[in-house]
Amino acid sequence: MSTIRRAAVVAALLVGALTAGAAPLPAQARDAARGRQVYERYCVQCHGGRADGAGEVARWSQPRPRDFRQGIYKFSSTPFGFLPTTADLDRVIENGLYGTRMPPFAALAASERRDVIAYLLTLSPRWRTERPGTPIAVTAEQAPTRESVTLGRELFEANCSKCHGDGTGNGPSAVKGLVDDWGSVITPANLTLGRGKWARTARDIYLRIAGGINGTPMPEAGDALTPDQVWQVAHYVQALGAWAGSTAELRKVAAELPPPSAAVP
């Protein structure tokens, strides 16, 4: 047997021995393994090597980066307190959170986002014991009108202005100070900017009113508002700024209405 042939046989035996003992990883584990690489490339600086939201630059980030170990995600399409769907996570990764340190990763391949989500699901025990919530059913939207905006203003004053004030986030609770579940000081959204961290459209506003924001004082509407009333509040919010779908006419209607009385000047 020539040297080359002997070497080939030894190599084949070696490869066989090594591969025989290696159990193939399930697809989810393979995705997660690749996702860890994605995480270490794009996420680790803020979210940290231990996924605890304490990365190198986290101290300069306000709001603080998410601590993935707890499995609490602020923005989702599911009811308050439930895990988000993978589509919810993908949306945040793809679009980022406006005005925060979380940038949009639309340039990444869909497979990269899929993989990093698979990795995120390994970071909290919640994902092993709970299933994502059922997405909130969003009822059909009626086109915003002067009436819906006016009614929305009344509901806003009764339910939202304690924190959001006149829409700029200057409610009495906000002035007193709000903290999230991670102990960070947070401020209510300024709804007059025409864009939220997560929300862009009236449907997004609806979801935030109906589902609240996990880990923050922003509650879900629950039984306090009917679906039609949620839309009315959404239309009023839409009329406070240049949100997608907002019109100059709607904004004029909102401007002519008296501001919610809870606003702190």
């Binding site: 690489q37 490339r41 600086q45 190198e56 630059v57 300069w60 940038p103 949009p104 340039a107």
Partner: protein
């Protein structure tokens, strides 16, 4: 009006500095060369062209290596709190995310791009310090005629770039060499998302074309000097035009949201034009389109197809009259294999060029050439890259009838390794080792082939 005035001043400054540098590179023979000016005219012509090209590339590589990509932007890491490897496949090669960031005018488009929205301590500046060591052996006809080595190219880059506001991005990039020379290459202002669309961004100033090699920052440090198909000129050409360089002018570029489909069109004045204060003494146009497709599963992760073309002019008359043209057309194909994050990248590029014969003194016909490259990069771990490139240039038709068909043909092979040590989000230390071999047919006196063998070690400290 003030802005226009400042842009004009900036263009003049860039034009004059680059013009002086180019003239200097062509006027002085390389030190220690074994042949005198009285040797074979044709051989010296090519040899001089090669050396001038090398010197030009050396000086330009300084500008390139400090510019053109996000490679030079630890300032971005500071501003956005991300690691260098977030945007770089391996510094300075851009990944998908870095390409999109660059296409967006160095913006995240997330409401945090405006300087006023950032921590007051943030300044959009960076510093880059580099030094390299090179050994070169020249062989003619199989015999080593010269060998030399030493430290070179020590320089400090202290520049600024980024976004001033959501609409305005900028770049300013002076380089200061050890011997006191200064060099200003790229300098531009970009208006982002005209009419609110990503498909229309307008850049004014001196900047690189949108080439797949990122105008050589991809091979920054020493290896950039031979990122050379884009820089090739037919033997004896008087035009200094190279697609690889920064040319003053206007760029219109656009892209979709993920930078999967992109285009760029440049209207420019050829760099080094004899009258730099003349806005369009040597006008030219460049365009490139690319499309990328990502795959959800499988070994083939993505494919990108690109096509480009350029038409540049150069005056052959006593002043700026009698413009003569140069054409370049080509395509490139890029495959990412194996992994999205740690891929094996394969790039192929083909190019054909044709110059007007008036650009080559004593020419009797329009010269033509073809060129191609195969480029391989493997990233086994972050942030380490192993790379290699094979490159060939073939003259299809010589400018002067009777010259050998292969006169001036080139073959080039390069292999190297680059490691970027990311000390933290503010500092990086790049180390690179490469070896290359370049063979130029019949360029030595007497018609012998000239072969250059190089070993290059370089280091950059980036803040």
């Amino acid at each position: 009006m003030i802005i226009r005035h400042e842009i004009a001043r900036l263009s003049l400054l860039i034009g004059s500095v680059v013009g002086v540098r180019s003239a200097d590179a062509n006027a002085h023979p390389a030190p220690g060369r074994p042949w005198s000016a009285g040797d074979s005219a044709t051989g010296n012509e090519v040899y001089a062209a090669v050396r001038a090209y090398e010197r030009g590339m050396e000086s330009r590589s300084a500008g390139f290596s400090a510019g053109g990509s996000v490679a030079d932007i630890p300032a971005f890491a500071r501003k956005y709190g991300m690691k260098c490897s977030a945007c770089h496949l391996a510094v300075p090669v851009l990944n998908r995310y870095g390409q999109a960031f660059k296409d967006n005018g160095f913006r995240m488009k997330n409401g945090t791009d405006d300087l006023r929205a950032n921590d007051p301590s943030y300044w959009p500046v960076f510093a880059w310090l580099w030094k390299d060591y090179e050994i070169e052996a020249q062989r003619v006809g199989g015999r080593t005629v010269q060998q030399r080595g030493g430290f070179a190219n020590g320089a400090l880059v202290f520049g600024g770039l980024g976004s001033v506001s959501d609409k305005l991005s900028f770049r300013f990039l002076p380089t200061i060499y050890e011997d006191g020379r200064t060099f200003l290459d790229h300098g531009w202002i970009r208006y982002n998302q005209a009419f609110g669309t990503d498909w229309l961004n307008i850049k004014v100033g001196s900047n690189s074309f949108d080439l797949h090699t990122l105008s050589s920052p991809e091979y920054n440090m020493g290896t950039s000097r031979f990122a050379g198909l884009y820089a090739y000129s037919v033997p004896g050409s008087v035009s200094p035009f190279i697609m690889l360089g920064a040319n003053p002018g206007i760029e219109i570029m656009g892209h979709d949201r993920g930078s999967r489909i992109r285009y760029a069109v440049n209207v420019f004045n050829t760099n080094g034009a004899p009258r730099a204060h003349c806005a369009f003494c040597a006008p030219g146009v460049f365009a490139r389109v690319t499309q990328r497709h990502d795959f959800a599963n499988g070994f083939l992760r993505s494919v990108q197809v690109g096509a480009f073309g350029a038409y540049a002019t150069w005056p052959t008359g006593p002043d700026t009259s009698d413009l003569k043209g140069q054409q370049r057309f080509g395509g490139d194909l890029e495959f990412l294999l194996g992994s999205d994050v740690l891929p094996f990248r394969v790039t192929m590029m083909g190019l054909t060029g044709r110059d007007d014969r008036e650009l080559v003194p004593t020419a009797t016909q329009n010269p033509k050439f073809n060129a191609g490259l195969l480029q391989l990069e493997y990233v086994p771990t972050l942030p380490l890259v192993l790379y290699g490139r094979l490159q060939a240039i073939r003259n299809q038709r010589q400018a002067i009838v009777g010259r050998p068909d292969d006169f001036g043909d080139q073959d080039y092979q390069m292999f190297g390794v680059r490691r970027a040590v990311e000390l933290n989000s503010r500092f990086a230390w790049v180390l690179e080792l490469s070896v290359w071999r370049q063979k130029i047919k019949q360029s030595a006196p007497g018609g012998a082939d000239l072969t250059l063998n190089n070993l290059w070690v370089g280091t950059h400290l980036i803040f």
